[in-house]
Structure formats: C-alpha cells, structure tokens
Symmetry: C2
C-alpha cells in the first residue's frame, strides 16, 4: 500500500508518527511514497522514513528538499494507492485539497481525508466520482476526530434509519462555554482557550460556528443522503452568548452549548439550552453525539474531537478498512 500525504501540519505529522508506531499492524508493506505541504515536497518510490519526515519538518520547517510547485504534479510523479489529504481547510473554495482529492479519485485511487473544505463543498460530486471510478473515499476523522461517528452510522448501524444527529462537534467552543459556566466572561474564556492551545490566534472558524457547520454538512450528505453544502446551514456562533444568558440558564438548571443538528429536514448550528445532567451538557473539549435511530433507539458516543494522534488514529482506521476492501 503506497501512500501520499498531502499536507504536513499537525495531523499529517501525527499520521506519519502513527504509521511508524503501528508498523507491525499491517499484513502488507505500507510505504509513504510522497509527502508535501504548501512549501516543499519529497518523493521516494522505495518509501520514506516517517520519523525522518517529521523530524525534518520540525527542525527545518520543510517536509522535503524540493520547492513546492503544484500538488497535482507531485501526485502525477509517483505511483500510489491512497492519498491522505490533510491540508488546511479552505471553506470558501475547497482550495488545493479539493483538487488533490478530485484528481486522485478520477485516477481510480483511494482517498482518506479529514479536510472539511472538499467535503463540505463538494461531497456529492466527489462521492459520485468515487463510485464511477471504483475509488474509495473515507473521512472518519473529518467529524469528531477520534470519536467514531461516520463509519459507526454507515457501517455498524447500516440497518438503522438514522432519524437525527445532535451533537457537540467543536471542542474549542465547548471549552469556552464550559469556562463561562464558572463565571468567566467570553473574552477571558477565549483567551484561556488560546493560551491552552485549544483555540487559534484567529478563532473565527471555531467561534462563529463555521467548523461545526462543516461537520453538520458532512453528516447530512454522508449519513442522511442529502445534497447540501456549507451555504445551506443555518449558523449562529457563540460570540453573542453573554454571561447574563449563561447565568440565567444556570438559574433554570441549564447550560448553553453549541449544538449541531442534522436530520432529513434540519441543518442547523446554534447555541442551545441543555438541561444539566443531559448527555449534551458535558464540559471541556470532548465531542459528543446523540444518534437517534428507528430500531436501536438513541445511541450516545463521545471522544476526543481533536489532537494530532487522535485524529491520525481515525485516518489509520480508514486506512485499515481500505486495505481490507482491496485485499
């Protein structure tokens, strides 16, 4: 199994580490034949050393010795089986990631991605392309990180009709709201999240609900067979949640949480009142989802929604599923 890693930031590096850590797990050789980010690339049909890749990136800032041109050119220059597309999300256009995914699927090769841009903008187009070309497109880590949800719904629960999914899909927002529960004003809770590395310097993507909206779109298309994109989501972020609102909620035994909800008719991200003790009233950075089905009733799952190794572990599970399918 020959792999190209597109994007060599936190998740790309984490995945390389996981391939190294878990090398004895595979029945067949698994080789990284190319890795690139926006600045540089490296290829080796004999297989690159994952640890050396990570070390070089950490020490020099570059994943490879070659100055980056187009990702498509790198993809065309090597023989590979699976693209692991983990470049940064561009929710406006899908960015380079969309081109990489499309190009790979068109060649009949398989793709694992956690890049929400291509999935939130062009899911159905990509899915149709994959079907037509006999390619496999998997994306467990794109929603909920290490919390199983995509494959849980589409494989384990394949006999169920999933009626709705409601969940906390952004650990940053949940951390901020949890801190506000203790009396901290929004700005201070955000600052704390930034200091702890939970929030970016520019937190817009999280706190405006954009990240959650991407995940809701991915669930809508992949689990509910809908045909929606990011623009179809009704989004309210958490910037307007005041300390007063939180205090008022607390008086009624409630907390405020940023909930993503999807069903056949709903596609929404908004701060909602949740009774204390309810599974969606959790504090901290965990992701939690309530999956309502026709036969099994409600299933609740929670896990780490982000993190280098955690997200990489979701990519690993997709990789092993692809290896099984291709055997």
């Amino acid at each position: 199994m020959r792999i190209v890693i597109a994007g060599f930031g936190t998740v790309g590096q984490g995945f390389a580490e996981v391939l190294h850590l878990k090398s004895d797990l595979f029945d067949e050789p698994v080789k990284i034949v190319a890795a690139f980010d926006s600045k540089s690339y490296v290829t080796d049909s004999g297989g690159l050393d994952p640890v050396a890749l990570v070390n070089r990136k950490k020490e020099t800032g570059a994943v490879g010795p070659n100055r980056m041109g187009s990702g498509i050119d790198v993809l065309d220059s090597v023989d590979y089986d699976v693209l692991v597309e983990v470049s940064p999300t561009d929710i406006r256009t899908g960015g380079e990631g969309l081109r990489h995914v499309e190009h790979t699927l068109r060649k009949g090769k398989d793709v694992i991605t956690v890049n929400k841009g291509p999935l939130a903008l062009k899911f159905n187009k990509l899915n149709r392309l994959a079907k037509k070309k006999g390619s496999i497109l998997r994306f467990e880590g794109s929603v909920g990180g290490a919390m199983p949800i995509i494959n849980l719904c589409s494989e384990n629960l394949r006999g169920e009709q999933v009626r709705s999914i409601r969940g906390i899909f952004n650990g940053t927002c949940n951390f901020i709201l949890s801190r506000m529960d203790t009396g901290l004003p929004f700005e201070q809770a955000l600052k704390e999240a930034q200091q702890l590395g939970y929030a970016e310097t520019d937190p817009t993507y999280d706190i405006e609900g954009i990240d959650t909206a991407c995940k809701v779109v991915i669930l809508a298309n992949s689990i509910f067979n809908r045909d929606v994109t990011f623009a179809d989501v009704s989004i309210t972020g958490i910037t307007s949640v005041s300390s007063e609102a939180i205090a008022l909620a607390a008086d009624q035994g409630m907390v405020i949480r940023l909930i993503g909800e999807v069903s056949d008719t709903v596609l929404e991200v908004s701060p909602r009142l949740v009774p204390k003790g309810h599974p969606l009233s959790v504090s901290g950075t965990l992701n939690t989802a309530r999956i309502q089905t026709d036969l099994a009733g409600t299933i609740t799952i929670s896990g780490k929604g982000a993190g280098r190794i955690e997200t990489a572990s979701a990519i690993l599970s997709d990789l092993m599923a692809i290896m099984d399918s291709r055997r």
Copy 2:
C-alpha cells in the same frame, strides 16, 4: 440469504419483525427457511412469512406445527446460509445453543448469536472452528444489546490497542441501583424492576452479576484476544449493596454502580463507587461503556442494552455485514 432462527422468544420474534420491517433494505432475497424453539418447529425452503410466524407464536404459543425433536435434525433438514441463534442462555453447559452454533460453523455456514452461553463458555473453540471452516461468527447483540461495542472495537477501532473496557452492561442492576439512590431499599427496587418487566421472576442471573460476567468474558476473548471462560471472572453481584452503603456513597458525592471491567490482566464484575457526573454514574436501564485506547484516548458509548427490537437491530447489523462479506 437463507436464514434459520433458533429460539423464538422475545429476541427471535423481534428479529422476524425486523426482517419484515426492513425487507426493502436488502439487495438480495432474505428468506427464513426454518424457525424453531424448544417445543415446535417449522421449515419452508420457499421462505416463511415472518409476520405469520410471530402471530402464530403469540396466538398458539407454538412457532410451528411440528413437535420439536433435536435442533440439529431441523438444521440438517434445510439448506441455509446463516443461523440466527437466539435460544435462552444456559451458562452452565452452553445448552442446545452451543450445539446449534458448533454444528453450523462445522458445516462452513455463518452464525449470528446473542446467546451468551456458547460465547462465555467456548468462545475460542468456536472462533477457531469458524476460522478453520471459513465461517463467519458475529455476536454484536450479545454485549450491550443495541449499544455498538463488539464491532466498534474490532472494526472501527481496529488500529487501536484497546487497553481496558469498563462499563455498565446490565440494565436491570443499574435500574435497581438508580432506584436505591432515591432511598428505596433493595427488595423494593427489585420488585419495581420486576413490575416494570426489567427483571425476571427469578432475578438471580442479573442481580448476582452473572449476566455482566458473561459479557465481560465475551469482551475479553473477542477484543483482548484472551482465552478465558465464565469461571475465570471475579464476580460480586448487587444483592449485598445496602441502603446504608448507598447513603454513605451519596454523602461523598458518589453512587454505586455494577461495573464490569476487562483488560489484559483484569476480569471483574463488582459494585463500585462512581463519582456523580462521571459517565458511568448514569441512572436507568441504559448500558454504557468506556473504551480506553492507546491512540484515540477514551471513547464512551451508551445505548439500549436490551429490548426486543433493539437487540434484533444488532442482529440485523451483523446480518448485513455478513451479506457484504459473502458478496
């Protein structure tokens, strides 16, 4: 896909209903070619009407017109692909269920079971037999009912090393302990559970921790690749949990829950103190499991641990997985 249903109690009837409800889900014809319980049987190579089967059992107490001899004879009298073995659990010998499962695997046919007897007593023998004969043995519903756990660990999390699983695997005990939290003495809480249909007339199997122990053994063998049986589990039930102990726990912000725990070295069922607010402090009849892994961290899942349709839905998911594998 030709199915034999062995055992036509609550779960067997629920599964027949689910086959009827979900008939449009299958790409190929799915037929029940035989159904039997301890008293009667019926066969039809053309396929039995699931609704008629359920109605006959409800109205007459018999699933079929023929007086039951040996299950093996019924199995040998029809051509079938999958045995759905849902006869009552016999934890002492494995009972008829063990013979049905073994006989079917030996013929190279597939088995889905929620019968804990064969699995808790002879898992590794059955698993080896299945591998040797190219048969598939699936048993999602045997632990946690509709709560996904077996296939979640062995498929979705296949890249993880599962370090431990701790959970509430018996809704009856959890209901009783939850009611005791409100001040009810054990006997009264048990009576209430019986009145609500959560506990059997003879509640031994649940309240002595036997049911939970069976599930812990199934997890140990299937997820941790251990080679243990029911006799290896250290078991304490809930009959010795006093109102005083519960009150004392409450004073310290704790509840008492019957926890099953399994790891490479632990195999235990016992009432334990759990801090209020902890995911395992839940009240009511739900099952909950905390799966600790090396890469993904801790994943928590909860769902309905019992119920006619809920358990049948786990059988359905196993059936669809078998249909995929056999295609």
